[in-house]
Amino acid sequence: MVNYTIRRVLLMVPTLFFVALITFSLAHAAPGGPFDKDENKKLPQQIEDNLTRYYGLDEPLPQQFLLYLGKAVQLDFGKSIQRNRSVNEIIAQGLPVTAQLGIQALLLALLIALPLGIVSALKQNSGVDYGSLFLATIGTTIPSFVIAILFIYIFGVWLRLLPFVGWGDGLDFRRMIMPTVILALPGAAFLTRITRASMLEALGQDYVRTARSKGLAEGTVIIRHALKNALIPVATIVGPATAGLITGSFIIETLFSIPGIGRLYIISINARDYPIIMATTLLYAFLIVIANLSVDLVYGALDPRIKVEA
């Protein structure tokens, strides 16, 4: 297990290198550059040259890439062209907010999805099952910006129960409710369906019948035998979903004016802010790799037949 983990961690190096190379090439291949901010304005050539030099974009691309790598290895991700601030600082300020929101949403999603999925499977075609199906359908089909605006109007403006502008210090519970719930909703809906399906499948397996026939208590059968197996597909999904949630949501952060990094992904691409594009993509790639590794390790715990030593 230890060897396996070490090997997987070492494999991250080439993975991240290729992610960096591909992202760098694609970002620079996109038409227009970071100083093409506004079609109505045209910078005089020498001013654009000054900016180009200021941000080191005058060097040949391969050299820029190598310089970038050299610094990135030392965890210096350069300076945002759009914001004229250190990328490290921007991410250091935004990531905790985004990660907190993401983790809260993930926990909430699991908290809703697991019990609901299990109960739906156990009481197939019951009221709970239909209720969960209804919720899941709403959660997956209505786009989050619609739900968000609806919530803002109902709970923010009409009932005046919850604030909806800004994040504060991250300790204000009332500010977190709407963004967390709305961010959790699609995940919760999806996970409920997955949990229900894999639970149903597990309940029909021979080993569950065996467990029941040898007279085990129903609770033990469900938790020890059915649920543990049913969780494998769930874990597969939760891993990458975590990476996605931690890196944030453009829509939720935009609508609730949350100073996270979720917005950076989209904005940096539109602005051709190469250092931010690189940093956010690498961060996402890093988290995905870590998440997948964790999932693989969790498999082993859930099902001893899945050997991580290879």
């Binding site: 506004d38 001013i47 000054n50 030099r53 200021y54 914001r83 803002i152 009409w158 004016s257 602005a271």
Partner: protein, 561 residues
């Protein structure tokens, strides 16, 4: 000046989503009417800064939201009179003294000026501000407005990586900016430039302190070193969330507001909700939102009109067929029903029924009717166009920077030409950054495309010369417009000391420009916003895109009830 695009979802979309039921129940809690127009000495104003600004460094900034912050914290030598948009003294004690040849400008500061931390402000601080903008190492986007100062263009054009320190220092030494004494600053210009007086209001000349820039480095724009001499001081900048400004008690005429918070709500529909909740005292109104606002008597009473000093136009690439033909360009221009476009599509602003310069600006010419909507005349011009050019209309595309909003607008536009001239035009949406790169020069500029110009400073020079002079003009270069007569007229007017002659020169140039029609003027922009009844003392001007920004010290709030 550059304007931010508003967010993708309008209030209209929102209402569509919610249906009318919810909105009917969302009337904000009735705010008791303010007792009297008495400023609350502890009054706080909350407005929306939109998104996080790219920079608030006065010598690098270019967007309106950035400039609004700068104009709160710093005060220039001059400011603009909101009524006339003429430059009037601000930190300067009086109008600049200009030598007979128009080349030497001396500005005397008011006595006893201070920074918000109480330290003295001198002419050297202003000199540093102008110098820093010209410095190529600063890489400021607006350096070009100071190119009329001796040595600025040359120094700014140097390659800081290749030039030696001695060369750079020599270029810097030639710059025509110096402090003659503690209170007098002197500028030496390359040529007479009466419009320089308006430039003295701009953010590029703000008296940033060298010690703050040195101390703060890249982070000097954080509150601890972002020390200015304006009506407000910045006390907090929570990135991507909010700015907090407080009254600067060391300002020569303290502001009436105690605190001004600018939150960063990126989304128009959310800002509107926050406004209804009294979490914002002011919020912008987009074209899509007008019907909602006007249908609500309470909101309707809170609508304010301000200017924008912006003209939007459709450019032609005149270097190649079809639009190498002047008749064809005029035919396109005259077959466009601007009044209908404003009524049906754009909604905010005025149809461009005069020349390029919008109303409110010095030099607006209502008598310039060359491009006026007239289908019969347009058809005649169309028939008179060269056959070769008309042939090239086959497969014509209208290229524009794509967004949900532009698409419907552009569809309307192409339909106009289809109806009035019988020309089929395909839509060609391009991502904004790619579009900006595309319209940089005539070699890559599309045949027909959409652009706008927003005043940097209210003078004709910033319109006719900056935009349309051949080869280097912002749009002169990309449409390929090149008329030596026009160039001669504007260059003479740029230098003319006699205001009447100067204005006449620009008027003649403007008429010539409309006839040459390198672009079809479409509309003059305007600004609409909502303001709560307890916000008082706002002096709107035709240049404002941002709340009463030339008299911000006068804004106050009464007790909110």
């Amino acid at each position: 000046m550059i304007r931010r695009r508003s967010g993708p979802w309008s209030i209209a979309t929102l209402l569509l989503i919610l249906g009318l039921v919810v909105t009917a129940c969302t009337s904000a809690p009735a705010a008791s009417p303010p007792a009297a127009d008495v400023a609350d000495p502890n009054g706080e104003l909350i407005t929306n800064a939109g998104g996080e600004p790219d920079t608030i460094d006065p010598h690098k900034a270019s967007f309106q939201g950035e400039i609004a912050v700068i104009l709160s914290v710093f005060e220039g030598l001059m400011t603009l009179d909101p009524a006339t948009l003429k430059p009037i003294p601000a930190a300067a004690a009086k109008d600049p003294e200009v030598s007979a040849d128009g080349l030497t400008w001396k500005v005397t500061l008011q006595p006893g000026l201070k920074y918000s931390d109480g330290s003295a402000l001198t002419a050297a601080n202003y000199a540093y501000g102008f110098t820093r903008t010209c410095d190529p190492a600063t890489a400021g986007q607006y350096a070009f407005v100071l190119y009329t100062i001796v040595g600025c263009e040359e120094w700014n054009g140097m390659d800081v990586k290749k030039a030696t320190k001695a060369e750079l220092d020599a270029a810097k030494a030639k710059l025509g900016v110096k402090a003659n004494s503690v209170t007098e600053i002197q500028f030496t210009l390359k040529e007479a430039a009466p419009y320089f007086k308006s430039i003295l209001y701009m953010w590029v000349g703000m008296p940033v302190r060298e010690s703050d820039v040195t101390k703060g480095g890249d982070k000097w724009t954080e509150p601890v070193t972002y020390i200015g001499n304006g009506p407000f001081k910045m006390t907090e900048w929570k990135h991507s969330e909010k700015f907090v400004f407080e009254r600067n008690d060391n300002y020569r005429k303290p502001a009436k507001l105690k605190k001004w918070t600018r939150v960063m709500i990126n989304e128009g529909a959310v800002a509107f909700a926050a406004y209804r909740n009294n979490e914002l005292d002011v919020t912008g109104v987009g074209a899509e939102d007008l019907r909602t606002v006007e249908g609500d008597p309470e909101l309707k009473a809170q609508v304010q009109d301000a200017g924008a000093l912006a003209t939007f136009y459709y450019g032609f690439n005149i270097t190649k067929p079809p639009f190498d033909d002047n008749n064809l360009r005029l035919a396109f221009s005259k077959s466009f029903d601007r009044a209908a476009y404003m009524r049906d599509v754009q909604k905010i602003g005025k149809p461009a029924e005069g020349g390029f310069i919008p109303p409110g600006m010095p030099g607006y010419d209502a008598t310039d009717t060359t491009q006026k909507f007239d289908v019969a005349e347009a058809k005649k011009l169309f028939d008179a166009a060269k056959p070769a050019s008309k042939d090239a209309l086959k497969g014509l595309k209208f290229t524009y920077s794509s967004s949900a909003r532009t698409k419907t607008r552009v569809e309307w536009v192409t339909q106009q030409w289809k109806t009035n001239l019988g020309v089929d035009i395909a839509l060609d949406p391009v991502d904004r950054t790619a579009y900006t790169a595309l319209v940089k020069q005539a070699a890559t500029t599309p045949q027909l495309f959409s652009l706008g110009w927003i005043a940097d400073f209210p003078d004709q020079q910033n319109w006719h010369t900056t935009v349309w002079i051949s080869k280097t003009g912002v749009s002169g270069s990309r449409t390929g417009y090149n008329n030596p007569e026009f160039d001669k007229l504007v260059r003479a007017a740029d230098k003319e000391a006699d205001t009447a002659k100067r204005d006449a020169g620009y008027l003649a140039a403007g008429k010539m420009l409309s006839k040459d029609a390198p672009a079809a003027w479409i509309y003059y922009d305007a600004t609409k916003y909502l303001k709560k009844p307890w916000v008082k003392g706002v002096v709107n001007s035709s240049a404002d895109a941002v709340l009463g920004q030339f008299k911000i010290a006068e804004i106050f709030v009464t007790k909110k009830g």
